[in-house]
């Protein structure tokens, strides 16, 4: 499971490094030394394997030709799926790795019901935090994980339809623009952060490694007990609005990436969550306030 950094680097440069995050095993090959350095910094503490292992996805980060390797180097991605990514400059290489892995899970995962959501857990209470981009779910999930909650994901909630349990997929958190200084202040150390990638299509992006304790428990599932839809608005008054079961159900359907693919088991599983979990929408104006509202809602509504 633990592999020294030189060996990991050697695998990354060669046939590919096997990395297991939660239920997903990916073989990753990176042909650029600078991107390998960024990757190994961000994925410090993650389990790497020698193989043989059953591999879910293969991801290769490479240059399309010799010119794009050394003159104005550009990074291309091969996910072995139907992808068509615009190549990025080498300086943004880690974004390509993250984009590739996101793509593979979002379009390839059929073993779990996927939510576009953050997920955290405390005292056996699993909380799904579904939201569209820009509503602050990544920042809120990351903030909670550095405030006593166990981090499952900031991007993909993974629910096993058969058991109704959420599985961790604790990849680094993707922080954007104003949320970067907020989280740096919240965490209080630069160590778990990547360098900042400026000028991306989404502005400045910085990755944050989840707390090490979350990585150690990445195979421990939890039952969902609450669904909290966050709405970040710097000028709004804090508010908690309960949702009916029907509203909760349709919001979950909307946030699921593969509800239609999984079909009837997904319908039953989402209906069970809508009926058995408490659901609300919270409006908050700062990370501190968001965390306070989540804790308040859970304390008051989940026994």
């Amino acid at each position: 499971m633990t592999m020294d950094i030189f060996k990991a680097e050697h695998h990354l440069a060669g046939p590919g490094l096997l990395m297991g995050v939660g239920p997903i095993m990916t073989r990753i090959a990176i042909k650029f030394p600078s991107i390998r350095d960024d990757f190994l910094h961000m994925y410090q503490g993650y389990p790497f394997f020698e193989g043989p292992e059953i591999t879910d996805y293969h991801l290769t980060i490479f240059a399309k030709n010799l010119y794009r390797r050394y003159l104005r180097p550009q990074v291309a991605i091969n996910t072995l799926m139907n992808d068509d990514f615009v190549p990025l400059p080498e300086s943004m290489g880690l974004l390509s790795v993250e984009m590739g892995m996101n793509w593979q899970v979002a379009f390839g995962c059929k073993t779990h019901i996927l939510f576009h959501a953050g997920v955290v857990e405390k005292n056996g209470v699993g909380v799904i935090i579904p939201a569209i981009s820009g509503s602050g779910k990544s920042t809120l999930s990351a903030g909670l994980s550095y405030d006593g909650w166990r981090f499952f994901s900031d991007e993909f909630g993974m629910l096993k339809a058969e058991t109704g349990e959420l599985y961790p997929y604790p990849r680094p958190v993707s922080l954007k623009n104003e949320s970067i200084p907020v989280m740096k202040e919240w965490v209080g150390s630069d160590a778990p952060f990547s360098r900042e990638y400026e000028g991306t299509p989404k502005g400045t992006i910085c990755y944050l490694r989840p707390p090490i304790a979350c990585l150690e428990e990445m195979h421990k599932p939890v039952r969902p007990r609450a669904v909290i839809h966050p709405v970040y608005n710097p000028n709004a008054k804090s508010d908690i609005k309960p949702l009916t079961e029907t509203m909760a159900f349709f919001r979950l359907v909307r946030s699921s990436a593969n509800y239609g693919d999984i079909g009837a088991p997904a319908f039953r599983a989402l209906a069970k969550i809508a009926k058995e979990c408490v659901s609300c929408e919270i409006t908050y104006s700062s990370l501190e306030e968001g965390i306070r509202l989540v804790n308040k809602f859970i304390d008051e509504n989940v026994a």
């Binding site: 029907t246 159900f249 079909g263 009837a264 039953r268």
Partner: protein, 111 residues
């Protein structure tokens, strides 16, 4: 039946049946009934009234007049124009969602 504006109104004339009851899954929520269509993967919310209309059609293929008669029995009163319009709209929505389908105009069935 042709409306005053000359348009043909299917919901007033046809006998409807449920398309394929075996492909529907139901979940009852606090304020609605959710129906999942396994053929399309779509989910829809029905209120109690819509669910009652669906049940009538599921029991046996029914026209608007048949549904009215059953609802008048259940409600123990004559159904007014407002409610009639709601029933018609509900039938049109069901048809649009693919939950029901017309099988024949009323007069053909009665002959």
């Amino acid at each position: 039946m042709v409306d005053a504006d000359g348009s043909f109104n299917l919901s007033k004339t046809a006998v409807f049946r449920v398309t394929d009851a075996a492909s529907f899954l139901w979940e009852h929520m606090d304020d609605a009934h959710i129906i999942y269509d396994q053929r399309s993967g779509h989910s829809q919310a029905l209120n109690d009234f819509a669910r009652e209309i669906f049940d009538i059609i599921e029991d046996k293929p029914s026209s608007l007049q048949d549904i009215l008669a059953v609802l008048e029995l259940i409600l123990e009163r004559t159904i007014g124009d407002d409610l009639l319009e709601q029933i018609q709209q509900t039938l049109e929505m069901f048809d649009k969602m693919g939950l029901i389908e017309p099988i024949a105009p009323c007069h053909e069935i009665s002959q």
